[in-house]
């Protein structure tokens, strides 16, 4: 099997998107769907082939045939490593499933849905594979722009526009933070290739490098929806069409953390990561804050997509803990977690989309008892909830276990374990609570708050009495795949190889300059099934208890009715979610100062 | 020349504050247009003719024009709605 050119996964969907958009007035709907689906499938194949080709050594590709001249990189390069290629493959897979799900359904975009999705996919592929800092920014912008447009796809209601506007404003501010960071880095190194920058910066550790890192990281952390940068995410998710939510939650948000890790490991590998611990502690701090914030808010929400959106925030924080620890074992865990989470979350969003399609609502109080006849949907939803609660064999448990085992210090180990337990229990509880109310009609309808009443036009034209199989297929496949890391024996070793290569700064730089590299893969860590099972079981039990507490709290004695408080509209964290773009931008600034200040002041 | 460059930078700083402090949208569009032109002049002075050209095209003409068009469209649609309400 020959390895295709890494330019193809970018160029092919872009050409297809331009074709579909230019001829949209002349193409039939089924033909447009067919072209889009075929393009996504072809791209999946291309990315998978690249993943395979990058297995033994990174693929380096110079656009325009501009090879580096001595130490100076002249053109734009791609360096495809297994992590980048793997994320690109995941992007293509999720897009393909999204197209299958929305086959001749999502129609509110006046035939612009497919080209926008294809551009979004191409941007994610480019973002994952590029080795050039400014190119990374360009793909960041392309991804954002496509995301803003996709977010405004349903223009029947005022709410989508507002969500899309907040999303666009905060992420654009993030883009400018990144650009400022790029300018600062360029000023001291005179280079834009990340490997060259890493080589030139060496172990330089002064205020400029720290500030540049703070600018770049806070820009990408806005995309990664880490507290306090996260406010845009629930607004955007609660208004986007289902396949778009799948891509947002499944991959786009995680790509933010990926970019942070890629930059810090390649560019600041020796200046920021190696001898100093400030960066790690800062990320641990922000990650923990995100886990708690997202978890609490997830439990407090009653709009199905907002529940899932806040759970993404909480899980994103948990993944950032893995990034913060940053040893090969932790990154292996991060990758496992990312894959399993993407799949579980995609499955849940598809299932929520089925509910929207069938019952025309996303509000928990309105859906109360109405899903009792939907057995298969109920099974998918509950399995998704259990997957989020990280019960083996779902891959999140393996990821957790690997990240926990990578912490050697006792206090840190305890803290990380606690954080993972919290995110599993809270998000699992919220999903299970929704399931108990909607599919089993247990307890009461739950409080109706304002956010729960955000109306959403369903993906399809009118109320549907049956659910086509093509909607179930992606959901079921996703839930099944989220168990793959544990069930398929090769996965652990693959992820370990990918993580190890991802972190090796010298290897990355050497490949850019076409120097010979010697690479010996150390033996992979083994996870302990017993303790994983125990952790998962405890988390699921706690999630069930929490969910039952929320559902049956009216039957409890007065002293035990705290859930009303946590669920109710008076919950203090909810007030911060104000829907005002000015607030969100101010919080982004606070986050930037927090991040930069910690990097400056911590040892 | 150096003094001129510092002056123009100072002017950019002051105008930027002026643009965000202007609360009336129509005035703000004019301020933005002026600011765009000022930036274009700065680009010329700082030896960037390519960027200056596109800044004139975009920052001083296209972007303010777009804002004006958007404002015109909003004004138009609110008038339409008024008419409809009166008709009812």
């Amino acid at each position: 099997m020959i390895t295709p050119s890494p330019a193809l996964p970018i160029a092919v969907p872009l050409v297809a998107a331009a074709f579909l958009a230019g001829l949209r007035k002349f193409l039939r709907r089924w033909l447009a769907d067919l072209i889009a689906t075929a393009t996504a499938a072809a791209n999946l194949w291309l990315c998978a082939a690249l993943l395979r080709g990058s297995w033994h050594s990174n693929i380096v590709y110079w656009f325009g045939n501009w090879f580096p001249r001595g130490r100076i990189v002249v053109g734009i390069g791609f360096e495809v490593d297994p992590v980048g290629a793997g994320l690109a493959t995941l992007a293509c897979l999720l897009t393909l499933l999204g197209f299958i799900y929305s086959w001749r359904i999502t129609d509110s975009g006046r035939d612009l849905f497919q080209p926008l999705m294809l551009i979004f996919m191409a941007a994610m592929c480019g973002f994952a594979m590029t080795a050039d800092l400014f190119n990374l920014f360009v793909f960041f912008e392309l991804m954002s722009t496509a995301a803003f447009a996709l977010c405004g796809l349903k223009t029947h209601e005022p709410a989508p526009l507002q969500g899309a506007f907040n999303f666009a404003v905060t992420n654009t501010v993030g883009a400018f933070l990144i650009l400022t960071g790029i300018a600062l880095v360029y000023a001291v190194t005179g280079a834009l290739n990340m490997a060259q920058i890493g080589f030139l910066l060496g172990s330089r550790h002064d205020l400029l490098v720290i500030a540049a890192a703070a600018f770049l990281c806070s820009g990408f952390l806005i995309k990664a929806a880490i507290a306090p940068f996260h406010f845009w995410l629930p607004d955007a998710h609660s208004v986007a069409p289902t396949p778009v939510c799948v891509l947002f939650s499944g991959l786009m948000v995680e790509l933010g953390a990926f970019a942070v890790l890629r930059m810090t490991s390649v560019m600041f590998g020796q200046s920021l990561l190696q001898p100093h611990s400030a960066f790690r502690s800062t990320l641990l701090l922000l990650g923990s804050l995100t886990v708690v914030w997202g978890g609490l808010m997830c439990f407090a929400e009653h709009h199905l997509k907002r529940v899932l959106a806040f759970s993404t925030i909480s899980h994103g924080g948990a993944m950032l803990l893995g990034v913060a620890i940053g040893t090969p074992a932790a990154i292996t865990g991060w990758l496992t977690y990312l894959f399993a989470h993407a799949m579980a979350k995609a499955g849940l969003f598809f299932t929520a989309g089925i509910l929207l399609h069938r019952l025309q609502s996303m509000s928990e109080p309105q859906l109360f008892k109405r899903g009792r006849s939907l057995r298969f949907t109920a099974a998918l939803w509950l399995l998704g909830g259990i997957a989020l609660a990280a019960l083996p064999p779902f891959g999140l448990s393996n990821g957790e276990d690997l990240i926990e085992s990578a912490t050697h210090a006792h206090a840190l180990h305890l803290w990380v374990t606690l954080m993972f337990f919290f995110t599993s229990a809270m998000t699992g509880a919220a999903v299970l609570r929704v399931g108990m109310r909607v599919f089993f009609g247990l307890g009461d309808a739950g409080p109706a708050d304002r956010a729960a009443q955000i109306d959403e036009a369903p993906d399809g034209p009118e109320e549907q009495h049956r659910i086509p199989a093509r909607m179930f297929l992606p959901a079921a496949l996703c839930i099944a795949l989220s168990a793959a890391p544990a069930c398929i024996p090769g996965f652990g070793r693959w992820f370990f190889n990918a993580a190890h290569r991802f972190l090796a700064q010298s290897l990355y730089i050497a490949r850019i300059y076409a120097q010979p590299t010697h690479y010996v893969l150390p033996s992979a860590p083994h996870s302990d099934l017993g303790s994983t099972l125990m952790h998962g079981a405890i988390a699921v039990v706690c999630a069930l208890l929490l969910a039952s507490w929320a559902v049956f709290h009216l039957a409890l004695p007065r002293g035990f009715r705290g859930a009303t408080h946590l669920e109710g509209p008076m919950f203090p964290l909810r007030k911060l979610q104000s829907g005002h773009p000015g607030d969100y931008v101010v919080w982004c600034m606070v986050g930037f100062v927090l991040l930069g200040g910690c990097l400056f002041l911590l040892p | 020349m150096i003094v001129f460059r510092y002056l123009i930078l100072l002017l950019v700083g002051i105008t930027a504050l002026g643009v965000v402090r202007t609360r009336d949208t129509t005035c703000q569009v004019l301020a933005l247009s002026f600011y765009g032109l000022l930036l274009a002049v700065m680009f010329f002075v700082f030896q960037a003719p390519d960027v200056a050209l596109s800044q004139i095209a975009v920052g001083a003409v296209a972007l303010p024009l777009m804002v004006m068009l958007a404002l015109a469209r909003m004004k138009h649609s609110s008038e339409q709605q008024k008419k409809k309400q009166e008709a009812k």
Partner: protein, 118 residues
């Protein structure tokens, strides 16, 4: 004093960035928010341009000067050029959202548009 003179242009860029953010934070009109965002963007131009600037450098166009002469940095100019495109188009998209929101909700104040609260 000379130290301030050496970093003054960079400080102007930072100042413009903060001005734009101030505009967004205090905005009472969505079009104003969009324009403030455009101001934030211009700060990146100012920064990039000054980073690549060289006292006495010529413009990087060799139509009438001979190759080999000292020029200012063409890379930052290329980056800015593409950046200008981004500005225009992203602002167009944001304005379209504002127009549509106005047509649907009838208000332009970010304070009244809080459907997403909580």
């Amino acid at each position: 004093m000379s130290q301030i003179a050496h970093i003054f242009p960079f400080l102007v860029a930072g100042w413009v960035f903060l001005c734009g953010l101030y505009g967004i934070a205090t905005s009472r009109h969505l079009v104003h928010t969009v324009i403030s965002l455009a101001v934030v963007q211009t700060s990146t131009y100012v920064l990039l341009l000054n980073i690549g600037f060289r006292t006495g450098g010529a413009a990087p166009v060799f139509a009438d000067i001979s190759p080999g002469i000292t020029t200012v940095d063409p890379i930052v100019q290329a980056l800015m050029l593409t950046d200008v495109v981004v500005e225009a188009t992203v602002m167009a998209l944001l304005l379209a959202m504002v127009v549509k929101a106005y047509e649907k909700a009838g208000t332009l104040s970010p304070d009244d548009l809080r459907l997403m609260r909580g």
